[in-house]
Symmetry: C2
Subunit: 499 residues, 2 copies
């Protein structure tokens, strides 16, 4: 007797977001859709904040049209999205009726599974979105952002799972965006949730592979009863991405667990994205291989490179070690938020400020908001002295209520701002695009008619480097290089760059 | 209460063998030795057939001098080598007293742990070497080559473990050179060996990471009682190499298992080899990421590329699929040998012959020898018709005794051939080098005095591409590329290559 473990394929969203800076065009996904549809996945994650943003910012693609295309090409497969709770796909809190409308429109355009999370794990920031999903009749997945701190115990996470269950979630997701979830906590956490919420509660596990241990964590999560796990097809996997789907399937062979996945289909999907990936080489993540230092610093790789470049801009490139040592202090003062967008940037930037200018001598507006409760509640108490400094800096008081409680109905105002924009078609979808990214939306509406712009090297342009790659297995040159070049009998210093 | 799991570091042998074609020079290992020595490893694998061969063939390094250097720089750490049983480090069977002498000299020069294997798992080919190791007072590790076939059951492998134990081995190694060892068989195999041989029997597990599942297999092996596991520092890990040492350490955090490894030391070792690796970029394995197709074809990646190039040379590059389908037939006819050097090449080449010229219409000499028992016994019966064809082709009868039983004492003859060679110093070590690789040894002796030749890009030469890499994270250009170049107002087609 074997138990079936269900799988969510990530390649259409988090896979290329983590490895190719979210730049993959819809047309490079379309040829794989039939195989994805038939492979036997529980769901296919294909939409979220970064993909939406990238569509309108870089690709001149309407994200809603992309969603409808997936719906058409993946008729047998649940479509899944990642939703930032009250932030929707943007970077601020939205008023409740905007949340409702966004969820309704997403459901209407074809979304099946809504994975809803909050960067601070503040359940109040999830409630409205979860209610809207339930009302739409779609699958409502409440999310726990996994992190490590003295306060983040299995018990605390299980308590949050219980709250999500009480809010009517159809499944509970453990979201390990920084690859910090080791095998034993994975086991304990899944078992704890199953014990507290009932064995029938669907537990869905999302891990990244940055630290190299999380396929083992998936194995232990499955042993503890996890029902659905996330992975990405092998040709867009590993590094800061995810564990390879094929390895997940093979790992279970001979155990008491099995997937419904069809290996022939997986091979075709793999081959497709293996061909696509090199064309996006310039967007490749700079993190490759395995980074276990994250376990000690608890600072995700992307956050370190952000801080490095901030320091260099200030001529203080040699002070990274001090900043790395300061991050845990800032995080503690802020009540131990998980380090995930946007809290990772907020905490990281403040740590840079503290090192360069003295501790809390200067505050960023975002850090002040974080300290004052305008992002929500954190798990631990916040440092009262820093709260006081923040209130002074921001000229507003700390709050303890749900941040969105402050907001007035804003749909009509958003609508009246969006409608006059050149190229806005007046649909609710366009108003929502404007609501998420006002500046970018205006530019996008104006040029939408020009059609999608694939930012990968076109097959023709990519041919030469691809041939070079085939010959020696190396990546093509992508930045200017100076050579000594002889033409006839004359020698020149020449700087060249790919056309 | 936690159990300590011991670790063997592979970076000085199999790590760079699997990822950098065994090209790493001793001088690029020396700076890491103090940290390796102090990190808390059970042993450091640092010597074997390919490293020995590469030393004299490419690096103009005396492999014995390399061994003595390791002994000096790693005083607190067991040195470990891989020995091909009766083949020693060469490609033929040696007469028993040569085996004895090789083992004695290796022990005398500082080797502590001898991992002894045979490509066919024929224990008769291991016996003499194992006895020699035991007599030398060093650690004697008998090895099971793991493979998958209808005949390779857990029971069969456990039976072999029992035989190795009866030969007095201090430990039993499960060697998974093709990354075929899935988690459940890893568990079953280790448990089976422990049950049959006693819980005190040391079980040592070696896996590659090609298929992406084997860190999970190490976890299950440890849960089943494995005492020592192999890994390679993260900056030279993954792909066709091994699981990262740091990930292994982190994976166990919070479980009932722990290692003795010092994470600060590991970080230094990682940083060192992260700097070294790019200089060997031209030798990098072309296999990256994860290859789970191996599970179905059971054909290691390196073997497929061999067959591809053989087919292309014959103008039959389009017939790979037929060859891949033929390999299992040939392997069955040969009694299901594990596919590892040299059996993988022998079986693969014969499959190519069968497809191009008709089944067994032409035989390679090596395949005839394999069929006739000159490499030893395989687990399954061999096809009698093919044995007959092989006997006819090779003009010699099949044998059932141990292949080396045929051999006459050969030390004096080897000695008399080696001594006159220009540059031979007359030591037993030199005679052994000649015995292993007669042609290459002659050339090596003659030029030994010129000293080691580091084949990596020298720091100076590597500087420019390294700077380019730092800027954009891409590998440097390594082959000629044609550009359109403008100098002043004139446009030229120019082909450039790195200086």
């Amino acid at each position: 007797m074997s138990r079936t473990v269900e799988v969510t394929e990530l390649v259409l969203r988090d896979g290329h977001q983590s490895l190719l800076a979210t730049r993959m065009a819809l047309e490079d996904m379309v040829p794989a859709c039939e195989d994805i549809d038939q492979a036997g996945y529980w769901s296919v994650e294909c939409w979220g904040g970064a993909t939406y943003d990238s569509c309108i910012r870089f690709l001149n693609e309407d994200p809603w049209a992309r969603l409808r295309t997936f719906r058409q090409l993946l008729p047998n497969c649940r479509l899944q999205m990642l939703l930032r709770g009250q932030n929707l796909l943007g970077y601020r809190h939205y008023e409740d009726t905007v949340v409702d409308r966004f969820v309704d429109k997403s459901a209407e355009n074809g979304m099946d599974v809504f994975r809803v999370f909050d960067a601070l794990n503040d359940v109040r920031n999830l409630r409205r979105a979860l209610e809207a999903v339930r009302r739409s009749g779609k699958h409502c997945e409440g999310t726990i952002c996994y992190t490590v701190s003295p306060l983040h115990t299995v018990e605390k996470f299980v308590e949050m799972a219980k709250q999500l269950q009480d809010l009517g979630c159809h499944s509970i997701c453990i979201k390990d965006m920084a690859a910090l979830l080791r095998p034993q906590p994975a086991y304990d956490l899944v078992r704890g949730i199953k014990q507290a919420c009932g064995q029938d509660t669907l537990v869905h596990v999302h891990v990244h592979s940055t630290t190299g241990v999380t396929l083992v964590s998936l194995m232990k999560a499955i042993e503890a009863g996890a029902d659905i796990v996330d992975s990405s097809i092998s040709s867009l996997s590993l590094g800061p991405g995810h564990n390879p789907t094929e390895a997940l399937v093979e790992m279970l062979e001979g155990t008491g667990y099995t997937t419904r996945l069809n290996k022939d289909r997986l091979l075709k999907i793999k081959d497709h994205f293996a061909k696509v990936r090199p064309r996006y080489a310039e967007f490749e993540s700079k993190i490759i291989g395995v980074e276990t230092e994250i376990f000690d610093s608890q600072i995700p790789g992307g956050m370190i490179s952000n801080m490095e470049s901030q320091l260099k801009q200030q001529g203080a490139g040699d002070r990274l070690k001090e900043v790395l040592a300061e991050v845990p202090n800032v995080r503690k003062d802020a009540g131990y938020p998980p380090l995930v967008t946007p809290s990772s940037q907020i905490v990281g930037t403040q740590a840079v400020f503290n090192v360069l200018m003295g501790r809390y001598k200067a505050l960023t507006g975002e850090f002040a908001d974080l300290m004052l409760g305008y992002y929500g509640e954190s798990i631990g108490p916040r440092n009262p002295e820093v709260i006081e400094a923040a209130a002074k800096h921001a000229k507003k008081p700390p709050i303890t209520h749900r941040p969105a409680d402050l907001l007035q109905p804003e749909w009509e105002e958003l609508r009246s701002q969006a409608l006059p924009l050149k190229g806005c078609d007046g649909s609710d979808e366009d108003i929502l695009t404007y609501a998420m990214f006002p500046q970018v939306a205006a530019k996008f509406f104006a040029q939408r008619a020009e059609g999608p712009k694939n930012v990968s090297k076109s097959p023709a342009k990519a041919a030469a480097p691809a041939a070079a790659k085939a010959a020696d297995g190396k990546a093509p040159i992508t930045s200017p290089v100076t050579y000594e070049v002889r033409i006839g009998n004359t020698s020149h210093q020449v700087t060249v760059a790919p056309a």
